[in-house]
């Protein structure tokens, strides 16, 4: 039997890649990940669930220490960070449950049909990990979309090594989290190099490190959460490689909200309070912040909003985000027809929350569309006043893709909604009714994605199906039993759901 150690990297290196490498840090981490992949690609599900749960346990153990670092680095409020750690470790455990359930490999078996025309061989399909994954951490979720966040969890869950590019907004937290993750993985018996961190020494080279990572020939896929400009630059690099790789980016989202006249009349004051909470939470630094709200002209909501627009709860995450917010708000305010609805109070270092409004006609004017539909990260939202609901449809159709779209309607308005629902369904990945888009439940069904620029792919970065980003199909034709991975063996030793000869079958649990 060939010693596994003599096998070359499963994902091939191009000649010259060593000398082409600009940073030893990235190259070392990626090569270690590639080495780990030789083991992790065939790691049993029971190993991977142990990795995930051990990481979750050790992060929970260190929560107080981590939250203290995060508070200092990000400015986010402690209760929010406490919740985020719980969400992050819960997410790791959820992916362990997804792996145990087993549907994630989409096992399909078609037995040979020798009497068919033409005869069919035995074919057995499963999903295998694609290879080392570059994970670009986000600024605004220092736990849940960062070093040990959903991208890392979903890659490790299916056996793909991870190289995290730290976000420059929280380097110390990234380093400390990575230490804990690495130690936990070692404790759980994971292969060396399965997880690595680069770019935590935040300096001017952060962008260069990111580019080097996405262009490294041994990186097989990348995931990203951040700005449209940053994500597009990396996506373009991923697509331009000699061997292009999939790039799963979550870039930007306006998250439109439509409030019908009936809903406004029935509960406009409650809607004002809800909107205020949603756009100001975490100082407006959420991917699903409602950035644009279509309200009837003269709405109860608009009249009731000012008292709810308060002080910024804390500073923004980074100076760059603070600058971007102030700049975005200035540009909004300068558009003809835009009026100030409510202005809050700045806190220490933090800018004032602010709400503007504009009429539907001015909003639909091509000359100002770019400014009015540009995502402004931070505590602001734009009300768009409409007269007739029918006039909304062509305007909504022109919106760029979003992660979410929300409808507030009175129940009796359902029939009128039909056109609204379909137009918004075409523009978003999650369609909410009588709720607010901030808050993304981590469940089997969740979808956190949407048409460009919300995401760059047809996959989600949150929820049970997020693992699919890092898998690729392989089919075994007439394979000897000893060669088949366990999920494809005839007697279904993993007891997972499989499609056999066309029929989906559930395992009989012992």
């Amino acid at each position: 039997m060939t010693d596994a150690l003599t096998i070359e990297p499963a994902h091939r290196a191009r000649p010259g890649s060593e000398s082409d490498s600009g940073s030893g840090e990235v190259d070392r981490a990626v090569r270690a990940a590639d080495l780990a992949f030789r083991t992790s690609v065939r790691s049993p599900a029971t190993d991977r669930t142990r990795w995930l749960r051990t990481v979750a346990d050790r992060l929970d153990d260190a929560a107080d220490e981590l939250i203290a670092i995060a508070t200092a680095e990000t400015g986010l409020a402690t209760p929010r960070l406490v919740g985020e750690v719980a969400r992050t470790t819960g997410q790791l455990r959820m992916f362990a449950a997804v792996i145990e359930e087993g549907s994630y490999v989409e096992a399909i078996i078609d037995h040979a049909a020798t009497s068919a025309t033409p005869p069919r061989p035995d074919l057995r399909r499963t999903l295998r990990p694609i290879g080392p994954v570059a994970v670009f951490a986000a600024s605004n979720f220092p736990f849940a979309f960062s070093v040990a966040g959903g991208d890392t969890a979903s890659a490790l869950a299916i056996g793909a090594p991870v190289i995290v590019k730290a976000h420059s907004g929280h380097p110390l937290l990234s380093l400390r989290t990575a230490e804990i993750v690495s130690a936990a993985l070692a404790e759980a018996g994971a292969p060396d190099g399965l997880f690595g961190l680069v770019g935590a020494a935040a300096d001017g080279s952060s962008r260069a490190i990111g580019i080097e990572l996405v262009e490294h020939p041994l990186v097989a896929a990348a995931s990203f959460t951040g700005s449209v400009a940053g994500g597009r630059a990396l996506a373009d690099r991923a697509a331009a490689r000699p061997e292009p790789i999939p790039f799963f980016g979550e870039l930007g989202s306006l998250n439109p909200v439509v409030v019908t006249a009936e809903a406004d009349a029935a509960r406009g004051e409650a809607l004002a309070a809800g909107l205020a909470g949603s756009f100001q939470g975490s100082a407006g630094q959420l991917c699903t912040k409602p950035g644009i709200v279509f309200v009837p002209r003269g709405s109860v909501l608009e009249a009731a909003l000012p008292p709810h627009v308060g002080a910024a709860p804390h500073r923004l995450l980074t100076e760059a985000i603070d600058g971007g917010f102030r700049n975005g708000v200035e540009h909004l305010a300068a558009v003809p027809g835009v009026e100030l609805v409510a202005g809050g109070i700045g806190s220490e270092n933090g800018p004032a929350p602010v709400v503007y409004a504009v009429g539907l006609d001015a909003f639909a004017d091509d000359r100002h569309r770019d400014v009015l539909t540009r995502e402004v990260f931070g505590p602001t939202t734009l009300l768009v006043r409409y007269d007739a609901q029918d006039a909304l449809l062509p305007v909504l159709t022109e919106l760029e893709g979003s992660l979410t779209a929300t409808i507030h309607a009175a129940p009796e308005g359902e029939l009128v909604l039909d056109g609204l629902v379909e137009v918004l369904a075409a523009r978003a990945g999650r369609l909410l009714f009588d709720g607010w888009p901030t808050g993304v439940a981590v469940t089997w069904s969740q979808h956190h994605g949407g048409p460009w620029p919300a995401t760059t792919s047809q996959h989600t970065s949150v929820g049970g199906t997020a693992v699919r980003r890092f898998q690729r199909p392989i089919v075994y034709q007439d394979a000897p039993a000893a060669v088949l991975p366990p999920e494809l063996q005839e007697d279904n030793p993993l007891r997972i759901p499989r499609r056999v000869d066309g029929a989906l079958r559930l395992p009989s649990r012992p």
Copy 2:
């Protein structure tokens, strides 16, 4: 209720796209498809299965006429074309069965958990069609990968309109097939514009039409089967759009085969006959043609091969392919160390099948790697002679991705195979044992794809899961019952498999 006709296109048009358009033909077809999408996006499964089956029936009715046109245009043998029509209509019917089974929407329901921390809303996920799909037809399967081929079938199956870019190798067949498809869809009550054909007037503008199509702002995805150069050019355009779109390309594949010394000793003569049939079938113009075969030095296979290398069964598909074949063979023959093993006889207009051989050391030499590992479309294959099987592994690791990889081994060789299997599994989408890669069964489990450049994505273009390319997730949060699509309604009116509160559930069939 808003009249559906007043709703603007579900996939938004950018301002100015009309005037930017170079060809009225493309713009008209795409706009018609976009209009059809307003209906097809919500079309019931029963409508779509009727579309597919009616198209299949009408193509079968016209098979004799179509095969006569195809024979004249492509030069392919009639029996092969008869089989291909049956495969094409069988494929349309298979996708109808996939739709009826219902798993393809991946329905997931998580009921609200109001007592959870934080409380969770009701979330229901399904997959919806992404929008109008551009399908680039292939040269080598004038039916199965062309106007009414697998890409068209899988898009129509899930309600995505299709605009086919005809291949210039069979324009008359494309036009006639499109007439039959259009008439069948009209007969089955499909919306106007659901299917369109462009580029059948084959002239110098074929490339420009393809680019215009992939860049049209209302096109939401593209699929392609063809050369690495052509596919890469289109993939780059798709990625560079203002709103990038997914591009599902199947570009090129070497399809490596490894014959172990044991297998050669046990059945080398039979292997020679099998290889000869596989690389010469359809004059070697198959995506899964074995292009490179690793054999023990002094193999029975190599010695037995010459008598099986016969006359080309027919001309190649086009002059360009013929020129590419002659050019590729010339380059192969010119590499130092490459020897002629067997040369066949050219037929009328058709070049002679030919087999070369080279030693493993020469093959692994960087100076000639590009020539020796370039796919040559047509009846040729390259034997690579090895001394020790262990020396193969690093060489196999360096191969580019392929659609298939094949191992011929004696049963007792299984343990020795371990390294081989894993290395080849890393380089291909389908792993065959003791078979030949030509012939791709259309089944639930089939995977026709692989690492770059075999395909550009983690999806298949053949088999039941091919529909996933043209779907994107959407989740409904706290939606009123009347708004939910049928697959997400509480009582499961479509009787499809769904995941409910974490558990996969099969429908109770009446």
